[in-house]
């Protein structure tokens, strides 16, 4: 099987009316949705620190409600706080790494302490910075943003989910960090978007794949491979990492023999940390295989080359999971534990 970037998987064929190729539902872009929301709600102002990639047409569309402060992330965040004090809902844009790192103290001190409804949109997070190099690699953004009291975190899988979630995020009174992606989806998101509710795409029992953001794509390919090898897979797209869907995670921990966290983020502070915190808080044990960047930046290159170099393609992810599942089976046979009969079916 050839799992390329363009491959689209529809996981519920019966809902073929939704097939975009037939033009049933036109593709909505982030920019289009943001304009639509801004037209409906005049409190919304769009700001950028001279990063217009995703919002090129908004200056004409929004007039004075489009504010480009130039390459000045700190001033952008402070000014966003000032605008929010006057009742605005600023949606601010910059590359994820500059937004969350250069302006971190402004976010924490001006937006976080005051609990203002500023929406931070971080571009090219994680692997999506491709060949830019470590200066541009936002791999601690989730860790930093979720560490700020009041701040919430939305990590859409693709542009469809971003567009579906955006109205909820802008309506919410809290500050939000949006880990931006405009990737084409590999699945249709049938579940209605809800803050704090994960999307469970498949309800298998052998292994649960937990992921967020862009890594949904490769994780989905991995799920396809695992299923083709006869494994029963649960696929969980977390959608919002804060608040997080604890119930879905705890069910997976109880029902699946292996949990795998897959993220283009440092191992520290991201989903693996969140999962660990939840398990400890609820006094649960689970076997967890984390896939993240452990204390290092990734090799800068074009996206697909990054993935294969770093071992994050769907195929590589599936292989590592199969090894872990086989290891589990071997250990269980040796131990002659009573769970052997269950795992024997593997």
């Amino acid at each position: 099987m050839n799992y390329t970037a363009d491959r689209r998987v529809r996981y519920r064929p019966k809902l073929s009316w939704f097939d975009r190729s037939k033009g049933a539902l036109p593709m909505m872009t982030y920019e289009g949705k943001l304009k639509e929301l801004a037209d409906l709600d005049h409190r919304i102002v769009v700001m950028t620190a001279e990063n217009r990639a995703a919002i090129r047409n908004l200056p004409q569309a929004l007039g004075k409600r489009f504010i480009d402060v130039g390459i000045a992330e700190q001033t952008m965040i402070g000014a966003a706080a000032g605008l929010a004090l006057r009742g605005r809902t600023p949606v601010v844009h910059s590359l994820a790494t500059f937004l969350t790192l250069r302006a971190f103290e402004f976010i924490r001190t001006d937006v976080g302490i005051a609990n203002l409804p500023v929406k931070l949109v971080g571009g090219v997070p994680g692997f999506l910075s491709e060949a830019n190099g470590p200066t541009h690699q936002a791999l601690e953004d989730v860790s930093l943003m979720r560490g700020i009291p009041n701040m919430k975190v939305f990590c859409p899988a693709d542009q469809d989910e971003l567009v579906a979630g955006l109205p909820h995020i802008l309506k919410d009174k809290s500050p939000w960090y949006i880990r931006f992606t405009a990737m084409e989806p590999v699945v249709e998101h049938y579940d209605q978007f809800a803050i704090g509710k994960a999307e469970v795409l498949v309800e298998g029992m052998d292994v649960a794949l937990l992921t967020y953001g862009f890594m949904n794509r490769e994780s989905w390919y991995a799920k396809e491979i695992l299923e083709s090898k006869g494994f029963s897979v649960r696929f969980i797209n977390l959608r919002t990492l804060k608040p997080i869907d604890e119930a879905t995670i705890l069910s997976a921990a109880k029902e699946c023999s292996l949990l795998v966290t897959i993220e283009d983020h440092f191992l520290t502070g991201g989903l693996y940390s969140i999962l660990s915190e939840i398990l400890v808080r609820h006094e649960r044990r689970a076997r967890v295989l984390p896939m993240a960047l452990d204390g290092r930046w990734f090799k800068p290159a074009l996206l697909n080359d990054v993935l294969s170099y770093e071992g994050f393609t769907g195929g590589q992810i599936a292989s590592r999971i199969i090894v872990a599942l086989e290891e589990k089976k071997r250990v269980l046979f040796t131990d002659k534990s009573e769970i052997v009969s269950k795992d024997d079916s593997l």
Binding site: V45, A72, T75, G78, L83, T109
Partner: protein
């Protein structure tokens, strides 16, 4: 300004200084910087800002931001005198029963936004001024910056942005007391000519004596001072103004005096006779 008005301002400023000195014990406060900007704050709240304790949430009010938040005792004292807060509340300074701590927070009536970390509130003021521009409002936005605070890069980012957006409803006042925390600015990171720096960034600049109410009247009588440009008022001040034993002393920044010393300093405020202070006054916070 009539002589009577001037005398009233001077008496008000003296009472605010008494409050500041009284806060410099039982834990202390940043007394030097509070005394340097006291006249400016008294003048702004008495004569310039279109705001009163009855119109704190009025949509058309002027906004005031204290970016160098450590001189908040000057604001607490002014608020107590002008009826924003009860005078008795000043006795709660640093108490866990209240929220009158070393830096401003918006739970105090009259404080629009918290500060403490330097270099933040110019950008917050810019956001407020931008929104007023978008809505076509007539409110004005004032922000007091410290001269040491001008070391922060975010200030100069903000200066560029405010000029780019032609924020003539924005007034930055630099409390030019010539000291940063522990040393003279000119001995560490020289700022002069600070007026020329702001002018070069596209601001209209006026430099005045920050303790002379007549000069303040001239400077603040016409805002915006220049159409399409933000205004910077460089106010030359004296750190510790009013207390000869504190004035222009690098080692008298943060002070925690004994009650006896506070009494001596209150006398000194009126007599001008230097007190002999034994308390360690330079404490890094």
């Amino acid at each position: 300004m009539t002589d009577q008005e001037k005398i009233e301002l001077e008496l008000l400023a003296l009472r605010v200084r008494e409050h500041i000195i009284s806060m410099a014990t039982d834990g202390g406060c940043f007394i030097g910087a509070s005394l340097s900007c006291a006249d400016l704050i008294v003048y702004l709240y008495s004569k310039v800002l279109r705001i009163s304790h009855q119109t704190l949430k009025d949509e058309n009010r002027d906004y005031f931001f204290l970016s160098k938040g450590h001189d908040v005792p000057a604001l607490y004292g002014t608020f107590a005198e002008l009826g924003y807060i009860e005078k008795s509340r000043l006795e709660n300074h640093l108490s866990t029963n209240d929220s009158m701590y070393w830096h401003p927070n918006s739970s105090i009536p009259g404080i629009e936004f918290h500060s403490g970390s330097l270099g933040h509130l110019l950008s917050v003021a810019i956001g407020v001024a931008l929104d007023i521009k978008i809505r076509g409002g007539t409110n004005r936005v004032f922000v007091i910056l410290g001269d040491g605070e001008l070391n922060e890069g975010s200030i100069w980012e903000g200066c560029l942005v405010a000029a780019a957006y032609k924020l003539d409803n924005l007034v930055a006042i630099v409390d030019r007391n010539e000291f940063q925390a522990n040393v003279r600015t000119e001995e560490l990171i020289p700022l002069e000519s600070v007026d020329k720096k702001f002018a070069a960034f596209g601001w209209f600049v006026n430099r005045i004596n920050g303790h002379d109410f007549n000069k303040m009247e001239l400077a603040f009588s016409r805002i915006p001072m220049s159409f399409d440009r933000p205004t910077a008022i460089i106010a030359d001040t004296i750190r510790g103004k009013g207390l000869p034993s504190i004035e222009r002393r690098a080692d008298r920044w943060f002070a925690n005096f004994t009650h006896e010393e506070v009494e001596m300093l209150l006398d000194e405020l009126y007599s001008g006779q230097e007190s002999s202070l034994s308390s360690e006054t330079l404490m890094v916070r």
